[in-house]
Amino acid sequence: MSLNKKLVDMDYLLNEAPREKHFITGAQAMSEAVKRASVDMAIAYPITPQSEVMHLVGDIYAQGHIKEYYRAEEELGTMSAIAGAARGGVRLFTATSGPGLLRGLEAIVSWPGHRVPCVLGVLTRVINAPLSIQPDNIEMAYLMHSGMVMLHAENQQDTFDFTLAAFAITEKVDVYIPVSVSTEGFFVTHAKGYVEMMSEELAFTEPDPYHAPVPAMDNEVPPARIQRDAPVQKSNFMSYLIHSVWQQEIWDSNRRAMKYVYQYIDGPLEVQNPGSDVMIVASGCAAAQAREAHRYAQEEGISVGFVKVKCIRPWPKDEIREALATAKTVIVPEHNIIGWLCKEVKAAIPNSGIVVEGPRVYGGMTLPVELIMTEIYDALGMDSLVLQA
């Protein structure tokens, strides 16, 4: 690092270092986290609404906080170059949105198996026709089966904290798979919120590519006959075997990340009013609206619980099950048409019939708190129109 920074471990950086309050956008929050992460290389490619993040990361590269940065040809080229650079043992960051994520997906889904530690920002956007630039988050469903760790930020503060935590989690020797940090485009990336940040004089300790389950392919660790990327077509038997053991290890690594989710971001869930009959479960921006609905309900004297899901992978099945153990109705507001979070919640509990499928908005529209309140009133058998008036 060319700037004179004090390198500290992530526990100190995230949990102990003094912080000051700033009023910044989500894109700024993500790049401010990158600034404090001792990133070696960032690779950029434009797509709205992500571009703002990689513009700012480009600025901090120009200021000397990052050693290498370039604009790639398109997202498959970006994500492939990340995979190549990871073999060289450097700390990496890139970010994308919706269609860009899908264009890079062939490379992205191979990262975990190839043990590529990196942080991927996902600033959500519509992917289906008719295309738009608005923040629908259906793209996250495609990442859920990739093997990578997935964090979902509610606001600018989460975006900052989760991005920093992601750099620590991805390089843990018992994890060593990529970590994505998602948040909704525009709602978070282009809107300002309060973010408590530590001094930019502090930065995360530099990576040690030899403290890894697989060595960097840099010829520094003989013996040199390294075939980490085995083409497995030598025989069907070998191909079944190698694929199986690699993927079992990836999903075990994914599960092992959970202890670091507790260590760095205070666990996969935030639970308010546990034990309420009606529980709202949400992630990302939907959690911000669900939090508001929870507050309205408190003001109206209605007892409603709120569960924010911070970590989509590893999926906190036990924690969800415990949080919803006595619920009679579960409401899952989402920013996509398929309801990927709803499906996960239903699969996690024994009584999935109590889950209300929605409310859902899509195409990137906002999620009015009233939609969630209506579901709450319905669940409690109240006349929602009267109460809202």
Partner: protein, 291 residues
Amino acid sequence: MSLKYMIPASKFKRYLPKDYVELVDYGPFGKDYADVGVKNMGTFKELVEEHPMCSGCWMAYYIKIIFAALPNPENTVTIGTAGCGRLAISQAAVPFIYGNYGDQNAMASGLTRAFRLRFPDIQKDVITIAGDGGMMDIGFSMTMHAWFRREKFTTIMLDNEVYGNTGGQESGMSIEGAVLKMSPKGKNFGKMPAMQLAITAGCVYVVKMSPTNINKSAKAIRRAIFAARNLGPTFIHVYTSCNIEYSIPTPDVFRDAKEMEKGRFAFEEFMTPEAKELFAKVESKKKREVS
């Protein structure tokens, strides 16, 4: 630069894999190129020994030349993609990265930059080796853009004018009229002008050849690697026939390569003035100093 670190301390030797120790004792690791280069093939333990390629495969022969020609095998990484070639490349005693379809030059862009960050004082050679499909069809954008960005690594295209590994389909490098799978009525356009594309995109050293002469082939490979270290991207477009899909009887494979050398794979070499200057300097040195 010292290669001594590759040589295991005698007390540890027995704990290292036999394969590695043999490459130090009998192979090219830590040796001078003049003792273990292509001229001496057959007298030392080579980086590629076994491979699963077809009998008479001209590509396998050329891949053996690539590895015997490396100026710096101890610090070389190869990157490839789907295709026949990687079946042999992946068995060389040089780290090999197998990514996704056609992404070799994007991967090499990241890897080369990472090496320059972490090892500013050590030369790490990165070479992408892929077929005509991987390089000019599915990987076309990533191949071209790596060149436009002036990424400092060597690209080698093993052109057999067909998708061999997937069963004989037309590629962008097949000749016009070729009747192949997916061109049942014959291909209706000609070979893509790979050499001209490479020159236009900024490669500082470009060769097109049919590798009938081992020394000439090795010289081109070494020039491409030397120029890529300091000057910019380099490209070798080489004819490596598929004797299966083009039904070339094994005894005729060499004759076919000779005929190609008189035809569309006639030797062509492009170099920038800077590359020319570099080669004059490197090649005037005593052989033992070049590695």
